[in-house]
Symmetry: C2
């Protein structure tokens, strides 16, 4: 299974309009540091899903890279804005699996065009999207939001944004499900850093993500490869100064990056302990 990040920024994107911070200015010199809003594709066995639709030129991208279905985490504008023009397209309908959020966003329900919105009724229960097995889990955000646990080709991806921490039952599920890769909302620098404005009610700061990583380690289960996304210009500024000091297990996503979802092994000492316990 491959994951391609298309948008790894927050609602403001990077560069932020009118901002002259080092992270925003950097994008004018090195365009690979531009971050558009949330969007990625996952691909396996010749099938491709889109998760969220935050990139605005989505129609152009999908013309060259068609997808079979869409998974929407939630109906905040920065996760759906690429659907606005694209929905008026020609061709067979595209299924959009999404939270059962009666409001949706703007007039997407009223004028759904070629999109077929399919609200997910049952959380924590697997359903098939093509050959992918998908489980939707609730996240902790200011609007009804789902994370997606996707399995294919024997590997497991958990895509968890937007969220601040996890509801207990979602954390319990993840510990038991044991993803190989965990893509997670990390919008802000540590709350104690000079780059923080202390306003992180709806998203994780990078130290909160590190605490989640520690939970996996201390639970003595498989530790997923962590990829950080939904990154603000404030976190980028922090990373420009502190990249070498952050936990090397935290990987920073970037727009256009493709990663392989690879099986992670249970750490050897834990595996040995389990073997001994079983004997």
């Amino acid at each position: 299974m491959k994951l391609r990040f298309l948008g790894t920024g927050d609602a403001a994107q990077v560069p932020v309009f009118g901002c002259d911070c080092p992270a925003c200015v950097r994008t004018s010199v090195i365009s690979s540091h531009i971050r558009r809003s949330s969007c990625c594709t996952i691909e396996s066995q010749g099938q491709r899903l889109l998760i969220d639709a935050g990139i605005e030129n989505l129609a152009g991208y999908l013309t060259a890279n068609p997808v079979d279905s869409i998974l929407l985490t939630h109906f905040h504008v920065d996760h759906v804005q690429g659907l606005f023009p694209m929905r008026w397209g020609k061709g067979p309908e595209i299924k959009v699996h999404c939270p059962d959020d009666k409001q949706g966003c703007a007039d997407l329900y009223k004028h759904h065009g070629m999109l077929n919105f399919m609200p997910i009724q049952k959380q924590f229960e697997p359903f098939k999207v093509g050959d992918f097995t998908v489980i939707a889990v609730p996240l902790r955000h200011s609007k009804q939001t789902l994370g997606y646990c996707v399995e294919s080709e024997g590997v497991k991806l958990a895509y968890m944004t937007d969220t601040k921490g996890f509801p207990d039952k979602t954390l319990d599920f993840l510990m038991q499900w044991q993803p190989d890769t965990l893509v997670i909302d990390a919008s802000y620098p540590p709350t104690t850093s000079q780059h923080s404005d202390g306003k992180n009610y709806n998203h994780n700061s990078i130290d909160e993500v590190e605490a989640i990583l520690d939970l996996f380690i201390s639970a003595r289960v498989k530790v997923p490869k962590m990829w950080l996304t939904h990154i603000s210009h404030k976190l980028d500024c922090y990373l420009m100064e502190n990249q070498h000091f952050i936990n090397p297990s935290l990987n920073i996503a970037s727009d256009g990056l493709t990663i392989d979802i690879l099986p992670q092994e249970i750490p050897r000492h834990i595996g040995q302990q389990r073997l001994m316990a079983a004997e």
Copy 2:
């Protein structure tokens, strides 16, 4: 006064996602035929206004081409979508003159960021936006919509989209105000043409725009220079086959085109008749 068209397409834009019509295919060869959603700037005496915000990379455009204020015709997504990321920008607030539409679009009111929405309370009454004199007039559309009559440097521009025809009092006003240039919604081919699907409840077809031109001519007033915008791929297809047969007084806008708003004269025979009547 100069007007620069930035987006001259409808909500679906041109190319339409997944469409293989001649107009959509043409854009892959000649990118100047791409039409994004409604947006333009007008410029006079060193001041610049934005009318509508349909282009999605608005923040990038405004970074290079700052505007003093924004006029919004209405809150359909394809007229405001560029504001979604841009509102989170840095810098002084930007005033957005708009219809007094309590709903707005998505969460633009709730999270207005750097935008200051200023609902227009009085139609048909002039107000100043910088050195521009602006008069808002009601249009005929599926959502509360305003046309803008803008005067500066002794010339008059009427920007009238989205609309199907005009409310009587708006038409009466335009006949009396006598714009030099009329930018008008022309989304569809003639309803009698093979390119029409007969569904033009909210926008003009090109023959309806021609009928409006005829009203100005028969009213024996100054005939404005007409520019057609909000153009769908269906009208583009029609124009590819019929451009040489349409009324030469109807000019077709395109993305990126800059036009001068020039004073139009009252046709000589009418002017002479008026002189004779006055003698």
